[in-house]
């Protein structure tokens, strides 16, 4: 965000023109920031991603029902969704580095407490509430924090960050599984807490809120461009931007689009294994199918932000929503082993690209304004979508003894998201370029 009033160049979203002597890529601390954010999110989300491996040990230790145990995952998802807007606001107000420190303390405390639980309600508080809140703090402010490091070529930075979201699930479950075998479930929580504390302390030390902290300009800044970034947004400015932003349709529509996309893939992520098992495929092979899907999603996660920046964000997002939705139809005729693998590959492409366009869309609509709040609101939509999609399949199975209607809802949600993307405002101009000049927000954009 510029300190001076917006100029003509501020009215249009930044292009990805090459810089630094004409080269598109060059060494910059922004890449370190991307790596820090990627590792931080993978470490922070490790336990959530590997939740399934804890179900049986907890069930054996305490004789809890599986439904009671998985309710903790539901609480974690809902708490994380509800805390997302607040997490974005905190990141904007106190800076991402301090927010990361708060999130790290909550994560370590939540992990350590989960390792000593004796009652179900303690599990819900430690895993559901404390770790759910920590998850929101890791997920929401970090992404706008990375965006601050890029004047141009944001797509590449976001691509690497998004790809890490696909790598995490592929490696977390096997590591946690091995640790449980050798250390027990309590030891796994404690060792993960201790290991995370060391890793997070190093990452927080290396993280810088702003390029100005180390005396450089954001990545892609052209010679002669003056560009200052405020790491902490003062209360008046933050509330001024928020009041303008909440008058734009895009603020609400991006959240509902993310919601629809997450409903679309949550049904598949949660119920693909039961669907495959129902078709006679053994559990290990079914889990492998899911792992293939996660692995295939990685290139998509990386490519979508880059393509969105270069080709057009709405078109790319609409294509990947369409791919995510239409490929689910295959499942109605998928019965053989190889067909499930084929499904995993084609669905993984669309699913991987579902979320990668949002940071680019935010940048195109709101420029370099504080992005924590809008992104937090979008993550609220995403979290509620994951919770609803994860719940729908089980309910429908209990009633109908099949997943057919859940798959229909998944397809409809993704296609509705695609239509909603096509109805969004064009991205060739910022929606509220003059928000810093105008103290009283106008209605309707």
């Amino acid at each position: 965000m510029s300190d001076s009033p917006p100029t003509d160049s501020d009215r249009t979203p930044p292009s990805d023109a090459p810089s630094k002597g004409g080269s598109t890529f060059y060494w910059h601390y922004a890449w370190v920031i991307v790596a820090i954010a990627a590792i931080m999110q993978m470490v922070g989300a490790s336990i959530r991603m590997a939740f399934g491996v804890f179900i049986e040990p907890l069930s054996q230790t305490f004789q809890w029902d599986q439904g009671d145990i998985t309710l903790a995952y539901g609480i974690n998802s809902v708490v994380s969704a509800i805390a997302s807007p607040a997490a974005g606001w905190v990141g904007d107000r106190i800076g991402v580095r301090k927010a990361m420190a708060i999130g790290a303390l909550m994560f370590i405390a939540g992990m350590a407490i989960t390792g000593v639980i004796q009652e179900l309600w303690q599990f819900y508080v430690a895993f559901g509430v404390i770790l759910g809140t920590a998850q929101a703090i890791f997920l929401v402010p970090l992404l706008p924090g990375v965006m601050r490091w890029y004047r141009r070529q944001l797509g590449w930075g976001m691509g690497i960050l998004m790809a890490s979201w696909g790598v995490g699930p592929a490696i977390a479950a096997p590591i946690m599984g091995l640790m449980i075998v050798h250390l027990g479930w309590q030891g796994t929580f404690w060792v993960t807490a201790a290991g995370s504390a060391v890793i997070m302390a190093i990452l927080i030390y290396l993280y810088k809120d702003s390029p100005a902290d180390i005396g450089v300009e954001p990545y892609g800044t052209l010679p002669g461009e003056s560009f200052k970034i405020e790491i902490v947004i003062d209360k008046v400015k933050a509330s001024n931007f928020a009041s303008h932003m909440k008058k734009t349709s895009a603020y609400y529509n991006m959240s509902s689009i993310h919601f629809l996309g997450c409903v679309g893939h949550a049904v598949i992520l949660v119920y693909l294994i039961p669907i495959a098992v129902q078709e006679g495929i053994d559990l290990v092979a079914a889990a492998t199918i899911l792992a293939v899907m996660a692995a295939v999603s990685v290139p998509s996660r990386f490519a979508v932000p880059v393509l969105a920046e270069k080709v057009g964000v709405r078109a790319i997002m609409a294509i990947f929503y369409f791919l995510q939705g239409v490929t689910v139809i295959l499942l109605f005729w998928t019965h053989e082993h190889w067909m499930f693998y084929l499904f995993a590959v084609v669905f993984g492409v669309g699913y991987g690209g579902e979320s990668g366009g949002f940071p680019i869309l935010n940048r195109k609509y709101y420029g370099h304004a504080p992005q924590g709040s809008p992104y937090g609101f979008q993550m609220l939509g995403a979290g509620l979508g994951m919770a609803l999609g994860g719940w729908i399949g089980g309910v429908i199975f209990d009633i109908t003894n099949g997943y057919g209607w859940a798959l229909v809802i998944s397809v409809v949600a993704s296609i509705a998201g695609m239509v909603s993307i096509m109805l969004l405002e064009p991205t060739d101009e910022l929606i509220i370029p003059d928000w810093e000049l105008d103290a009283s927000p106008s209605i309707g954009h």
Binding site: K247, S249, Y252, N253, S255, S256, F259, L260, V263, L388, I392, V395, I396, D398, I399, I409, A416, S420, M422, L423, L424, E425, I443, G444
Partner: protein, 88 residues
């Protein structure tokens, strides 16, 4: 058409967002009600079967005896779901 749709707001909220929120809230209410009803009926059938035997064994041609209904206790969430859903 896209421009016209984009401009429509209700209570300050865009129509796209409202449509998604309302449809999904309705879906949640409907599925909750359906799930609650299915669980209550399943328990009721199970109690009937335990008390009077399987329905197939009970019913005989010309037998018009009405078996007294068994009140099945509802869990709090089931009561709320059935109260909120107008279709269940």
């Amino acid at each position: 058409m896209a421009v016209q749709l984009r401009g429509i707001t209700v209570l300050g909220l865009p129509i796209q967002f409202l449509a998604v929120a309302i449809v999904n809230a309705a879906l949640f209410v409907y599925l909750s009600g359906w799930a609650a009803l299915a669980r209550v009926e399943a328990r009721s059938d199970s109690y009937h079967a335990a008390a009077f035997g399987e329905p197939a064994l009970r019913s005989r041609p010309g037998d018009d005896t009405v078996v007294a209904g068994i009140d099945t206790e509802e869990q709090p969430w089931e009561r709320v779901a059935l109260f909120v859903c107008p279709l269940h």
